[in-house]
Subunit: 207 residues, 2 copies
Amino acid sequence: MPPRSETSDDDAPIGRRGSYSKGVARRQEILDRALEVFRERGPEGTSLRRVAEEIGVSHGALLHYFSSREQLLLALYEHTEKHRHDLRGHEEMARQGAVGNLVEAAGVNVNLPGFVQLYSTLVAGALEEERTETRDYFIRRFERVREQTADRLRRQQEAGEVRSGLDADKLAALLVAASDGLQTQWLLEPEVDLEGTLGLFTELLRP
Amino acid sequence: MPPRSETSDDDAPIGRRGSYSKGVARRQEILDRALEVFRERGPEGTSLRRVAEEIGVSHGALLHYFSSREQLLLALYEHTEKHRHDLRGHEEMARQGAVGNLVEAAGVNVNLPGFVQLYSTLVAGALEEERTETRDYFIRRFERVREQTADRLRRQQEAGEVRSGLDADKLAALLVAASDGLQTQWLLEPEVDLEGTLGLFTELLRP
DNA sequence: GTCTATACTCGGATAGAC
DNA sequence: GTCTATCCGAGTATAGAC
């Protein structure tokens, strides 16, 4: 679900007339260069105009492909998330419990404070205006994460690993909320024990 | 702990030479007018310059009393928090359990979405720079709220209302985190049941 | 569709008048 | 200490060239 607005099907490298539209490739190219700049200097303090200059396009041209600074940061977020996702073992991930999954994700994030901060900035931005792409993106994201977590919980309830009689959907929202909130506290005070505190849920949910 | 930088003791209305320094009064006057503007138009989209013009001071003068837009928003937040605090019954509040207290606070916030959003904006801003007043403010705030919550929890553990064997400090951090995170989700999707979901902790913590 | 040029408002810093 | 004047770079919107 990339932030590019329309171009929703451009997949056949051969045969389809036009194949990749040149614009998408150009956009990708610009994004790649921009990611490099962010990697070196970090997103904070790196203005749109600075990035544009550094990667050799005009300020206006950059804005042509990313309609706002927020959009560019969202693209950066998505890219980092993919990388972060790769850091985790996919096989084990699948059959993990809800709490274990969140704890492990938090463990990965501990090494990526910049990522957590970017997340927080984008979410706060999403709350500030009514109908933006960023807002839609995070609404969908929360829905997805809650749903996955609820599924895990239900499976664990059936397996007797988690106490039953609790609304799995509400519980999932609570777990995700706690995870997000804790990471905020952790960014402000690194001595907060992210994984240990989140792990309390293991005991709280024991049947 | 108001955001005014130095002037830390100006309390005696009589006898002390100079009594209130004129600057403090002026600052308060400007703040009051600014609060009015925010009440009418909301903080988002209300620029420093617009506020200044509307209350009849220059852009520079406003910046003289509030060294940044963030400082002004923080003052707005503190003022609203005081008002919000008044909405809650102080007597009952004191002898409430940890979960009940958070649930009730959330219940008040449900009628003040702008306040929750402002909180989220300020917290995100606090995460973005290293040594700012806003950051210090929220570090202290989280410490205070966690401590209060932990105290309640300990009292409840001794009274047998909350299951023991759980680290009250960690548990407090978890409760506060869940409360914050849920309010974020609620701002994005109002159908999220803020009080009900947070109330799950009542069952989770039962001995 | 791709991009340049321009203009507007914004937050913030500075220098200096009073 | 209080405030005006000015300047800077930022994000964004628009018109229009190609």
